[in-house]
């Protein structure tokens, strides 16, 4: 089991209201829900982009948000690795400089070595000098993951990491991510639309609807017990696979 998460947050983003309460002893945690249910907003709130109106966020022993105590740790001090849906690669930088971006406090040589090692570990060492615009979706995914892992994040946030990938690289990416999710010093929170992601990662599933948690539990428990229309629909491909 990895790092625990205690989350109780209320926040307004434009007209959207996020009001979630989640407590899990460890990850990975998968966020599911219909479009517009607040998965991305919750990930951005965990990363520190959304200033909450009320609540607490504790990852492991570390309090990242406690509105009552006026604690809101800024994104740069949270130790968060964030992979947005579009990968968020910096187009003006090479792959190597993208991966080394968060290592700016290290000497240049150490930065380059670390970037090279991370890319090699993810099977992307040949991309070192390429520009992001020249990469395929799967390659971008690896580079963005290497960049997020470079800072040794305690909290890894991924928004639909397999959604934009070709079928051929989807399973490979799932396995790649599965290795990262297993780390005992790290909590991974992943938003997904794909039930096969859940089968690969066996996460604690949190189902959101209109900014609120409507169900939470293991894949198996939710599949068997939930009568919520979205969950019934979401898990229906499993019936077909069986």
């Amino acid at each position: 089991m990895s790092v625990a998460l205690q989350l109780e947050l209320r926040a307004s983003v434009g007209d959207f209201q996020l009001d979630v309460k989640v407590s899990v002893p460890g990850g990975p945690v998968a966020l599911i829900g219909p479009n517009g249910s607040g998965k991305t907003t919750l990930l951005r709130a965990l990363a520190g982009a959304v200033v909450p109106d009320a609540g607490r966020l504790v990852v492991g022993e570390r309090v990242l948000v406690d509105v009552e105590a006026q604690v809101v740790v800024p994104p740069e001090q949270r130790g968060v690795g964030y992979l947005p849906q579009g990968y968020g690669l910096f187009e003006h930088l090479s792959v190597q400089d993208n991966v080394a971006y968060g290592l700016y406090r290290l000497p240049k040589e150490s930065r380059e070595d670390r970037a090279r090692d991370l890319l090699a570990a993810l099977g992307a060492e040949k991309l070192l000098n390429a520009r992001p615009a020249a990469l395929s979706g799967g390659q971008k995914q690896r580079v963005a993951l290497a960049r997020a892992l470079a800072i040794e994040p305690g909290l890894l946030l991924l928004d639909e990491p397999t959604a934009a990938l070709d079928v051929s690289v989807r399973q490979e990416t799932r396995e790649l991510l599965s290795d990262q999710f297993g780390r005992p010093d790290r909590l991974a929170v992943v938003a997904t639309h794909d039930v096969r992601d859940l089968l690969a990662w066996d996460p604690i599933v949190v189902c959101l609807e209109e900014g609120r948690v409507v169900a939470q539990g293991s894949v198996e428990a939710l599949r068997r017990e939930s009568t919520h229309p979205f969950l019934v629909e979401f898990f229906s491909p499993l019936g077909a696979m069986a």
């Binding site: 520190g48 579009g86 800072i151």
Partner: protein
């Protein structure tokens, strides 16, 4: 689109192109090399040229340094105060330059809003080179801020958030991610602002006067030469065209490449 459709739609395009190009071609043909050489040999022309280049460069520096943070803030906020700020930024674009000239006089003039305060420190702005720069900032800044704001709005929020999660402070994320991502728009906006400042006439004439060597820019030199020697006015105008074309070529060299 059929070949006939294509030819028909080309007609208005050619009419407009001719309308834009013919006056410049006319100016080139009307100006003899000897007139050009004579104009360039005059101290007044050379000083107007250097004054134009110097003041527009300084004005551009001020516009970029002050306008970039403003554009960034405007791009990230869509609240009611920001809409009012945008209105203030857009206003100089729609106001006639003469109105801007009067407004600047009423602000920095001896009897103006800030005039007595400046006079207390022994400073007077109207009819100085500083006045020329202020007028150029006033007309150039809106074009830069509007273009830069549009460029920054196209920068994905997630890019900034990723940079922040990787340890970048807000200012480092802005400088190392937002500025390069909006680079093409910033260069394009700077070019527009520079070109507008170079061509500024009305506000400068009213606020800074037309003093050779001190406030007489190239556009004012053309205006003065028109009353004395048409050939010289044509030659100075052609010099202005050459500077503008050079500016456009520089923009072509830097702008599109950074956007691709």
């Amino acid at each position: 689109m059929t070949r006939l459709d294509s030819r028909l739609s080309a007609i208005p395009a050619w009419v407009l192109l001719l309308l834009l190009a013919l006056p410049v071609v006319g100016l080139v043909f009307a100006t003899s090399p000897s007139d050009l050489a004579h104009a360039l040999s005059l101290d007044s022309t050379r000083s107007a040229l250097w004054l134009s280049m110097g003041t527009t460069t300084l004005a551009l520096f001020l516009v970029v340094v002050l306008g970039t943070p403003l554009a960034w803030r405007l791009s990230r906020k869509r609240d009611s105060p920001s809409r009012w700020v945008m209105l203030v930024v857009e206003l100089p674009v729609v106001l006639p330059p003469t109105v801007l000239g009067i407004a600047l006089l009423e602000t920095f003039g001896r009897q103006g809003l800030l005039g007595p305060g400046l006079a207390a420190f022994g400073m007077s702005v109207p009819f100085t080179t500083t006045a020329v720069i202020l007028a150029q900032v006033m007309v150039g800044a809106p074009l830069y801020v509007l273009t830069a704001t549009a460029g920054f709005r196209a920068v994905d929020d997630d890019l900034i958030l990723v940079a922040r999660t990787l340890g970048a402070s807000p200012s480092r994320a802005f400088l190392s991610v937002a500025i390069p991502a909006a680079g093409a728009s910033l260069v394009s906006g700077a070019g527009l602002a520079w070109a507008r400042a170079l061509g500024e006439f009305g506000a400068t004439l009213m606020f800074a006067g037309n003093l050779p060597g001190k406030t007489q820019t190239l556009t004012l030199a053309v205006f003065q030469a028109l009353e004395q020697d048409l050939a010289q006015a044509r030659a100075i105008a052609l010099i202005l065209v050459c500077v503008a074309v050079l500016l456009l070529l520089l923009l072509r060299a830097f702008g599109p490449r950074s956007s691709s």
